[in-house]
């Protein structure tokens, strides 16, 4: 009798509140991809980034750690199947040697220059639904609920992952994204605020990485001040 209930509860369509990465079942794992950061994996439902959907990363500015957050998962996705990693409307150029350090195939990076929000949105949609992009990274602030839903559908259709990088001001806007998170720099490193998690609970992770842990200490010479006057 109880076993029957267990089977029912184990069914994939049944979502149980509070059941996160620690107790994931093997069938559901394929729906996510590990972030590469244990603390983050533990906080996300099914232990990783959701696949074939839309993720929003909100940050106050570029350079806060928004790419490092995704790099291990993107490298894993690229290793899984053929296709481009498409960057649409990025604020700067991604730097190839750094991508190589993160195990990303440099020749599979496709940069699309677009400034108008409509163009960025269109290019993201095209790339996602084409089926030839493993993941699409887009920089877009102007996004309404319809457009976000469309991107989510395009990602599912093209079996791709859509990641939108947006400013913190867009936090109050409604969005169809499966996962929305905001980045803020804290004392120990970059802090991740998972404020919309479909299939999970909003969480706050103090520091997803110890960025400086693997760096040797600063080799300060006498002439170089540790703190610059700005």
């Amino acid at each position: 009798m109880s076993s029957g209930l267990d089977t029912l509860l184990e069914h994939r369509a049944v979502w149980r509140c509070g059941r996160t990465g620690q107790q994931r079942s093997s069938t559901a794992t394929s729906a996510t991809i590990s972030t590469g950061y244990p603390s983050l994996d533990a906080a996300l439902p099914n232990g990783g980034w959701p696949r074939q959907t839309l993720i929003e990363v909100l940050s106050s500015r570029a350079g806060i750690g928004e790419l490092r957050l995704l790099m291990p998962a993107l490298a894993a996705l690229l290793a899984e199947r053929d296709g481009y990693l498409v960057w649409v409307g990025s604020p700067y150029q991604p730097y190839a040697p750094a991508l190589l350090q993160w195990d990303i195939d440099v020749e599979r990076v496709l940069l699309v220059t677009a400034t108008a929000p409509a163009d960025v949105l269109w290019a993201c949609g095209e790339a996602l639904s084409s089926g030839s992009a493993v993941a699409v990274l887009g920089w877009l602030d102007a996004l309404d609920i319809t457009a976000s839903r469309r991107l989510k559908l395009a990602a599912a259709q093209g079996q791709s992952l859509a990641v939108l990088f947006r400013s913190l001001q867009t936090r109050q806007q409604t969005s169809a994204a499966s996962l929305r998170l905001a980045l803020a720099s804290g004392s120990e490193g970059t802090c991740v605020d998972l404020f919309k998690v479909s299939g999970g609970r909003p969480r706050r992770i103090p520091a997803y990485e110890q960025a400086h842990a693997f760096w040797p200490p600063l080799a300060t010479s006498d002439t170089t001040p540790n703190t610059l006057p700005g």
Binding site: S60, R61, A62, G63, I64, G65, E66, L67, R68, M71, R81, D82, G83, Y84, P91, Y92, Q93, P94, Y95, A96, P97, A98, L99, L100, Q101, W102, V106, E107, V109, L110, L111, V112, T113, A114, D119, W122, A123, E126, A127, S130, G131, S132, A133, A184, S185, A211, H212, F214, W215, P216, L218, A219, T220, S221, T224, P225, N226, T227, L228, G230
Partner: protein, 540 residues
């Protein structure tokens, strides 16, 4: 020596004119040699001659208007003359060759069309293109003759009768009046088609009897030549043929003798065959002015269909196509599309056009669309693949990638779609290039292996990180972050210097620093004493 000649014109052996042949020739031996039927090497040819008597009419007046009284008027030596008339007008006495005044006197309600020679030529060429369906050897002769060498095609089409039926039915359907004849030589086929339609001469031996009674007036020779023959009492080709060769050549020119020899197959008749045009050009006159882009794209689809047919016939794929949208009293809008090699479907072309037209502002509604395509490539075909295992096959994936690149380029411009390439250089700004995506995959190995095998292990051992964002130009620290941002150096220095070989020598100390929220890659020039800080990258 004379025997072959006599054999050739056997039915007239008894007639006196055949005898002086040798007497008139000053040097009998070599001359007699030329009279031998040329040895035909290889297979026997079979020429189908098609005579289009009303081509002028058909190329100027549409099928629907041909039931009315109408005529095509051309200017000949300063006078307006009728050059073609419809059947109903002809019944009432109007004939080609009349002056316009005479025709108008007979039929005041005659509808007139101005004669344009290029229309006739274009119509002739279209028919020649159609004839290519039946044989690769199509010859345009004169303004109204099509010659097809059909012998190699007969087996494919199941015999001459079937081929003829299909060709004539198609011509009739297109509203062309045509008569045909079959002969072993092209010239005989042409003459017979003009004067004895329906004649089929399949071997060279039967040619003589078929041509014998052909009136000279049907050969298309000048009138004065015909008159001089008539004065000699010669009205038919058979009589003409029996004239002494040397005298004939002397009086009427060797060219005309050669013409006869070619018709009878005793001399070779090399022809330059009609080549399919390598340039596509087509226009569409719109029935109403169109300002709406969606409707314009719909109208342009007709042209794209024509282009697709053109390309498919030639087994070509289209490299570039140029659309011209013409308006009244406004400059034309020209748009060039570059569809990829992998995407030769009308649907894709239409989407490209829609994307291309999106930012365009038309100054006025369009009345005429023109499509020109001159750059083609041999078609590379692919086999279709059924994705049984759920994973798209590599070829399908490649095609989808090609389509994606083209769509992006069509809307955002060619320079907007780029890929990265590593180059073997230690200076940060020179370690990478932006290249076209197609080039990245090919040449990445050049820069990739030095990086992967030499540079990366070193960087890893020294715990050196490269930033994920590189600024296009290094920027002063204060300019990027503001003067009051707290900047803390966290790691460094990493000294990157030298580059004297390409005159971009530098000596910089790089640091990783926390600047406000962001992690930045800073440097300071070693040589300059000013110690100004620059941001070169951000650790995204």
């Amino acid at each position: 020596m004379s025997r072959p000649v006599r054999n050739l014109s056997e039915p007239q052996v008894g007639q006196p004119l055949s005898l002086p042949l040798e007497l008139d020739v000053p040097q009998p031996r070599p001359a007699a040699k030329t009279m031998l039927p040329a040895v035909r090497v290889g297979r026997a040819e079979q020429w189908l001659g098609i005579y289009l008597p009303e081509l002028v009419l058909e190329s100027h007046i549409g099928v629907a208007q041909r039931n009315a009284d109408a005529a095509v008027v051309a200017e000949q030596s300063g006078k307006l003359m009728i050059s073609a008339v419809t059947a109903t007008a002809a019944q009432q006495g109007v004939a080609s060759g009349m002056t316009l005044a005479a025709a108008m006197a007979l039929l005041p309600g005659l509808k007139l069309y101005t004669f344009f020679p290029e229309r006739v030529v274009a119509c002739h060429r279209v028919l020649a293109e159609y004839a290519h369906r039946f044989t690769p050897t199509v010859v345009l002769d004169g303004p109204d003759i099509l010659l097809l060498e059909v012998a190699p095609s007969l087996r494919l089409f199941g015999g001459l009768a079937v081929l003829l039926e299909r060709l004539m039915a198609a011509l009739e359907q297109q509203g062309h009046e045509a008569s045909f004849a079959v002969a072993p030589t092209p010239r005989a086929a042409m003459w017979l088609a003009r004067s004895r339609p329906g004649v089929e001469v399949t071997d060279i031996a039967g040619l003589d009897s078929a041509l014998r009674e052909l009136p000279l007036t049907t050969l298309g020779w000048p009138d004065d030549v015909i008159r001089r023959f008539a004065a000699m009492g010669i009205r038919e080709l058979g009589d003409c043929r029996r004239l002494p060769r040397a005298g004939f050549a002397k009086r009427f020119g060797p060219a005309r003798l050669l013409e006869l020899d070619r018709a009878y197959g005793t001399a070779r008749d090399p022809r330059s065959t009609f080549r399919m045009p390598e340039r596509f050009e087509s226009r569409l006159e719109l029935t109403a002015e169109i300002g709406d882009k969606t409707r314009l794209c719909g109208a342009a689809a007709v042209l794209l269909e024509r282009l697709a047919r053109f390309a498919r016939k030639r087994q070509r794929c289209v490299r570039t196509m140029r659309f011209g949208f013409y308006a009244i009293d406004a400059p034309a809008t020209m748009r060039t599309l570059r569809p990829g090699i992998l995407a030769q479907e009308i649907g894709h072309w239409q989407r490209l056009l829609e994307l291309d037209l999106e930012p365009v502002e038309f100054p006025a509604p369009t009345v005429l669309i023109e499509l020109v395509a001159a750059e083609f490539e041999p078609l590379r075909t692919r086999s279709g693949v059924l994705p049984f295992d759920g994973q798209p096959a590599a070829e399908v994936q490649a095609a989808a990638t090609g389509l994606l690149l083209e769509r992006l380029r069509a809307r955002l411009g060619r320079a907007a779609v780029r890929s990265l390439r590593l180059t073997a250089d230690h200076r940060p700004e020179r370690a990478m290039q932006l290249v076209a995506p197609e080039a990245a995959a090919l040449s990445t190995a050049v820069g990739l292996s030095p990086w992967r095998e030499l540079a990366l292990p070193v960087l890893e051992r020294l715990c050196l990180q490269r930033p994920l964002w590189l600024l296009p130009e290094p920027q002063p620290l204060a300019a990027l972050f503001g003067a009051d941002t707290a900047v803390t150096l966290q790691h460094g220095p990493e000294r990157i210097e030298s580059g004297w070989w390409d005159l971009a020598d530098s000596a910089r100390d790089y640091y990783i620093a926390q600047a406000g929220d962001a992690l930045a890659w800073l440097y300071r020039e070693r040589q300059s004493s000013g110690s100004r800080w620059y941001v070169h990258g951000l650790f995204g």
